[in-house]
């Protein structure tokens, strides 16, 4: 190849290549190498683009939950097939769960802009098993004929639902804000900051308010349904998101000199 070719050009010559050490925008001439360079490629195996990954992961929970809500045959004992629960909280829970995943799908298609190209097939399979499996498990109990409504009745349901909605709006606001950060150019780096939108004011306290809101939404859903599997799912999600948030927080503090000191990773003043 010519000295002025970019790495992206070379990559197009080789179908599978590693993007780890060198970036697509690097020009061959500018790399610190001599007149001939040895480049190491690594075959990462079968990959899937980020958009497809998220579509696969989110479609599952969306449809499996509905299968349980509609009480399709062979899930519950025979006389209950195609019946519906008289409880409002069950329908409300279905609406919440469905809207949550529809929102995620909409964000995947229209909002998010992904950095790395792909994810390995094995990881996608594992993630799909996790998402699909858990949503089936919690949908099974919430839509079960023997489901028991929350101990504190409508009061509990309404407050928890309010928490859920606020956190969903918050999460969406943060995604929009982060999206606008990436606006000009591909590698422009700016500190995420609060905007006029009150939901983004959480940025004063945490680096990753999108994760904070996500945990809050699932917490609301847990309290609303008073279902232990949902609580388990919330805890596991919290653990994973805390790990991600702390990693991001560390990256931010390392990258930006004047990074706000008050900010924690995911829980204001605590974590």
């Amino acid at each position: 190849v010519e000295p002025y070719s970019t790495i992206a050009d070379i990559k197009s010559l080789v179908h599978k290549s590693s993007a780890k050490a060198l970036r697509d925008g690097d020009v061959l001439q500018n790399l610190p190498v001599g007149t001939s360079a040895t480049m190491y490629f690594r075959d990462l195996g079968p990959q899937l683009g980020w958009t497809m990954v998220f579509l696969a992961e989110y479609m599952g929970p969306l449809f499996t939950y509905l299968m349980f809500y509609l009480r399709l045959p062979y899930i519950y004992p025979h006389p209950h097939a195609f019946t519906s629960s008289p409880l409002t909280v069950v329908t409300l829970a279905c609406a919440c769960h469905t809207c949550h995943y529809v929102k995620r799908l909409v964000e995947t298609i229209f909002v998010h802009r992904f950095s790395h190209g792909t994810m390995p097939l094995r990881t996608i399979l594992r993630n799909c098993v996790y998402y699909w499996g858990f949503s089936a498990w919690l949908a099974y109990y919430i839509n079960h004929p023997l489901y028991s409504p929350p101990s504190y009745g409508d009061l509990q349901v309404n407050y928890a639902f309010a928490l859920f909605v606020l956190c969903e709006v918050g999460n969406f606001s943060i995604h929009l804000t982060l999206n606008s950060l990436r606006g000009e150019g591909t590698k422009c780096r700016k500190i995420p900051s609060p905007t006029k939108n009150p939901f983004t004011w959480l940025f004063f306290f945490v680096s990753c308010p999108n994760y904070t809101y996500e945990v809050g939404a699932w917490l609301g859903f847990s309290i609303m349904t008073q279902c232990l599997p949902v609580a388990v799912y919330t805890v596991l999600g919290f653990i994973q998101m805390s790990i991600w948030a702390r990693g991001k927080h560390r990256a931010y503090t390392r990258e930006f000199k004047a990074y706000p000191g008050l900010r924690m990773a995911i829980i204001p003043l605590v974590l």
Binding site: K20, A21, V33, S36, A37, T38, Y141, H144, C227, P229
Partner: protein, 245 residues
Amino acid sequence: MSSPATGTSKSIQDDAAAAKKRKGPGALATAYLVIYNVVMTAGWLVIAVGLVRAYLARGSYHGLYYSIEKPLKFFQTGALLEILHCAAGIVPSSVVLTGFQVMSRVFLTWAVTHSVREVQSEDSVLLFVSAWTITEIIRYSYYTFSLLNHLPYLIKWARYTLFIVLYPMGVSGELLTIYAALPYVQKTGLYSVTLPNKYNFSFDYYTFLILAMVSYIPLFPQLYFHMLRQRKKVLGHAEDTTKLE
């Protein structure tokens, strides 16, 4: 004149970091680990001796579990410390893998054999207990000698050869024991929770045990063939007796 692209400088750093990690635990940690492994070797020897003595006294294989019940529980449960060793970094194994192995042993000891009284007199219990006993005596003495940098070839050979028989033996004993426990678990509803309840949750221990048995199908071959590959690597190059573990 060729020089490696920037992509490989990262791998050089990784090698340095890995070499530093491979240097192993400090002096205090090594001393602790030697004591730990010696104690565990001794413990499992006690179990082995207990089994032999009980057999000689009774004249039959039946019901030997009762003679070694307490040391078995104590030393097998003590193995939980190994998870902490991995987490603390003084042992170069994966926390997840070690955790999984230890938890499955602890599960069988407490959640199956201890909890379902009726299986304690089964011969399958003796099968897995003896497999575990021989395996653990060899494994802990292997670690002890490795830490002291004086590993007799016999111990290394034993560790990487006897598993060929002991592993299937142990697995058979475990599966037969779980299978024997099934009817009692179903009858008494042991560790099970049914609907309706306040937290909208249910757990059927009977189904869980069946799933546990099924999980052996993918897991056992993977672990077995991994050990076979390790065997080829370790025993295949007899000259390379340096720290491969």
